[in-house]
Structure formats: structure tokens, C-alpha cells
Amino acid sequence: MNFHESNPLHLLVRQLGAHIPLSAADEAAIGALPYKVRALEAQSYTLREGDRPDRCAVLISGYAYRHKVTGDGSRQILSLHIPGDALDFQNMFLTESDHNVQMLTRGDVAEIAREPLEQLVLANPRIGEAIFIAALVEASIFREWTVNVGRRDARSRIAHLLCEFSYRLFARGLGPEEHYELPMTQEQLADATGLTPVHVNRVLKSLQADGLIQRDRRVIRFPNWERLRDQADFNSRYLHVKHQASRGANPD
């Protein structure tokens, strides 16, 4: 096997391997895919609704998000993405993109040409399954966001987003459990939770006043994970994390 960490696709291999054991040959086959790394500024688009892309992107560094814009121009954020995430693998099979993908921060993506990726996925059932599982977990996250926006109050919505981001970063080995830098403006938080920026501002202040979060610029700390989790109605089941490293403050 001649596949190692100088190849940015090792992040994808690690992400996929968390769901299903990949053999050295599987890993090498992913590592042998042709790719091109692009450095992107914050807010730049990797994909626009209506595009018919001929490549699929893996986030290598920084953060990204999917969103849609309604007829009256308001924006709804659909998901947040962290390094190792496939940003648009659905376009291997769906010709036309049904949403936008934008960078939250500056970062890098590795773009893989669609055709060799599709060939690999169809020829190698195990790699296909791994990518399929990742897509199913993503679908589960969309379902939970429907619930969050549809049936939770403003405090719980924001708390839920904060819990999810923390849990995913930790599960991916990208951060400690008790704090992280939230790469989102209050306007983006509003667009992810179906609220107004003014409302988000008020909720963040009240979560802080109640000791559920501490904020220092964009760094958010969780002094009491259990209370935050209760406020959020957060149950990590929908993230389908296997072999989770034990998490002191989180019995999930």
C-alpha cells in the first residue's frame, strides 16, 4: 500500500472507515483517485443549485455548509460540514444539483472527477457501501434538522445546533469536547435555525446568562454539557457514530 497522509483523500478514507472496515486495497483504490486541491476563501461557492457538476468535492480543511434560497430571497442553511466530509457525492447519481454549497471559512477542498469515482463505487461494493452509509447518516441529520426547525423553540434549536457540532467534531477527532471555535456569524446561525439574527442574539445571551454556554468571541465553551443537552433535546442516536471514543461529560 502506498497511500499515506500526504494524500488529502486520507481524510475521506478515515471518515468512511469509521463506518465500515476498509481493506488496505480499498484504501489504496481511494488514494489512487485523481484529485485536484482547491484553496477557497470564506463564502466562495463549491456548488450552485442547478449546476451539473462533473466532479465531487471532499472538504480537507475549514468548514462548509449547504443551503437553499427561497423565492423571496431568504436563505436556509441545511447542514454544516467539517474536514473529511464529502460535500456533494449525491451528484455522482443525481445529475442536477438541488442546493448550494458554500465555504463557511477559508479552506481547501479536494475535487475528484465524477466518472472515476462512480466507476470505483460501482466496481467495488465495499467502497460503495461505505459511501452509501455516509449518505444515509447525512440523510438522518437532515431529518433531525427538520425536527429542530419544525418543533423546537428558539433556545432548543440553537442549543441543538451547538451540541451537534461539538459531537461531530469530537467524534471525528477534530476537537476537544468542552469547547470549539464556532465558525458562524449570528446571521448564519439564524439561517440554520429558521430564526432572525436578533432572536439568535437574544437566545445566545440567555443561554450564557443561564450558564449553559460561555462565549469568548467565536470560542464557545460548554461548562455543563448535560444541562445543555437537556435544553437541546439532543440525543446522538441520529448521528449513528460507531466506536465513539468515550466522552467524559457525555454518557450518550
Partner: protein
């Protein structure tokens, strides 16, 4: 129950998007299917249960939902005949939401191991099933938008447009009226509204000449205006790929 018609709807849908062969279809039909019937509102699957089957909706309708800690229910999507209601069960081991029958329904279930092993032998069938899950996912995304950024009229109009469009595309019905036994409470749970607000909004849509809705029948009176109000664009349904 006529087995041929059970798979016909599924195959017709798949044929629009893939090159599933006669041989693939016969192999799928030959799996050890078991048939069950469900009464109105009964559960096909509950959150937290371990899963071992995948279930194809044969007759009637079903919906996925989740409960929050206050006990409120959010409906996540509706399913129509010829669709699998739980393809995530192929790979995910525990149900992360509930599935309920809308009216009375009939389903055909198959052990996930049997379906998986068929998929590993047959690339085009694998692709057809993946496509179904990816389109489910696209529908979930659109619902996040609907709940997050449309007003009550837009949300309900969008839900009705989606249902009508999918029913039509699947050949379950033709024309402007649909037998779809949805209650106002279910519309409320699908759009994140209160029953009172839902009732008021439906009345307004009726009064404006956009729809007519009875206990079991949905009629779209003015499709163009409803689409415009709903901000509905069928791209996310990926009828062809």
C-alpha cells in the same frame, strides 16, 4: 394481492432513472418477501428499535415522524405506493425515527441481508436503490427549507404541491384530485404549525380558490397559483437524472 402490481410501481419509477434489467427485476421479486397490513396510525417501526427488514409500501400511504421531548410530533416525509419507506435500514442498525401508516396500508418486507446481497451482485439495482435514498435525502432538505423559511401559507401550499406532484409522477393518480387521507393535525405536524393555524390557513387557501380539501380527498383547483404561492420547484424531486 397481485404480486405483479406490487413491484410494477417500483420498477416504473426505477426505469425512469436507471437501466435495471428484466433479470434484476426477477431476482428482486424472488426474494423472501412477507406481506403485512397496517391500520390507520399504527406503527411500522419505532425509534430505537433494532432493524432487520426493508419495507416497500404496496397500498396506502405512510409517514416518518419524530417526537421531541415536549411530546410534539414532527412529520418528516410522506411515502406513496411503490416506495421503500426505510431504506436506511440497509446499513444503519437502529431506527432513528418512527414510521406510521397514514390510512390503512399494505406493505411487503424483505430481510435487509437478502436485499444487500442482491445489491452487491447487481450494480444497476444497487444504483436504483442508492438513487432512491438520495432523492429521499433531497426531500428532507427541502422540508428543512419549508419549515425554516416559508410562512404558513407557503408551507402548506408547498406540502400539497409536493404530494400532488409525486402522486402524479408515480402514476398513483391522474388529474387534479387525489385520494390522500391526510388530517389537519397531520398537515400541522408536517409544517411545524399549530392545528388552529393550519385550519385557518387551509380555509384561506380554499377561499382564495387554490384548493379543496376533504377528509380523504385533496383537490388542486388552481395549480399555477398554488405553485407560485408555494415557491415550488420540482427540481429537488429529481424525476429524471
Amino acid at each position: 394481492m397481485n404480486d405483479l402490481s406490487i413491484f410494477d410501481r417500483l420498477f416504473r419509477r426505477w426505469e425512469r432513472r436507471t437501466a435495471v434489467s428484466k433479470d434484476d427485476k426477477r431476482a428482486l421479486e424472488g426474494l423472501p418477501w412477507t406481506y403485512r397490513s397496517f391500520s390507520r396510525e399504527s406503527y411500522l417501526l419505532r425509534e430505537g428499535e433494532p432493524v432487520s427488514n426493508c419495507t416497500l409500501l404496496v397500498r396506502g400511504f405512510a409517514y416518518r415522524q419524530k417526537l421531541v421531548s415536549t411530546g410534539a410530533r414532527q412529520i418528516i416525509c410522506f411515502h406513496i405506493p411503490g416506495e421503500f419507506v426505510d431504506l436506511q435500514n440497509l446499513m444503519l442498525e437502529v431506527a432513528d425515527h418512527n414510521i406510521q401508516s397514514l390510512g390503512s396500508s399494505q406493505v411487503a418486507s424483505v430481510p435487509r441481508t437478502a436485499l444487500l446481497s442482491l445489491m452487491s451482485d447487481r450494480a444497476e439495482l444497487r444504483k436504483a436503490i442508492w438513487l432512491d435514498t438520495l432523492i429521499d435525502s433531497s426531500i428532507f432538505r427541502e422540508w428543512v427549507v419549508n419549515l425554516g423559511r416559508r410562512d404558513a401559507r407557503g408551507r402548506i401550499a408547498h406540502l400539497l404541491c409536493e404530494l400532488a406532484d409525486r402522486l402524479e409522477a408515480s402514476g398513483v393518480v391522474n388529474g387534479a384530485a387525489y385520494d390522500f387521507p391526510i388530517t389537519q393535525e397531520q398537515i400541522a405536524d408536517a409544517t411545524g404549525l399549530t392545528p388552529v393555524h393550519t385550519n385557518r390557513t387551509l380555509q384561506a387557501l380554499r377561499k382564495d380558490g387554490l384548493i379543496s380539501l376533504t377528509a380523504s380527498r385533496l383537490e388542486i383547483v388552481d395549480w399555477d397559483r398554488l405553485v407560485e404561492l408555494a415557491d415550488f420547484n420540482e427540481r429537488y424531486l429529481h424525476h429524471s437524472v
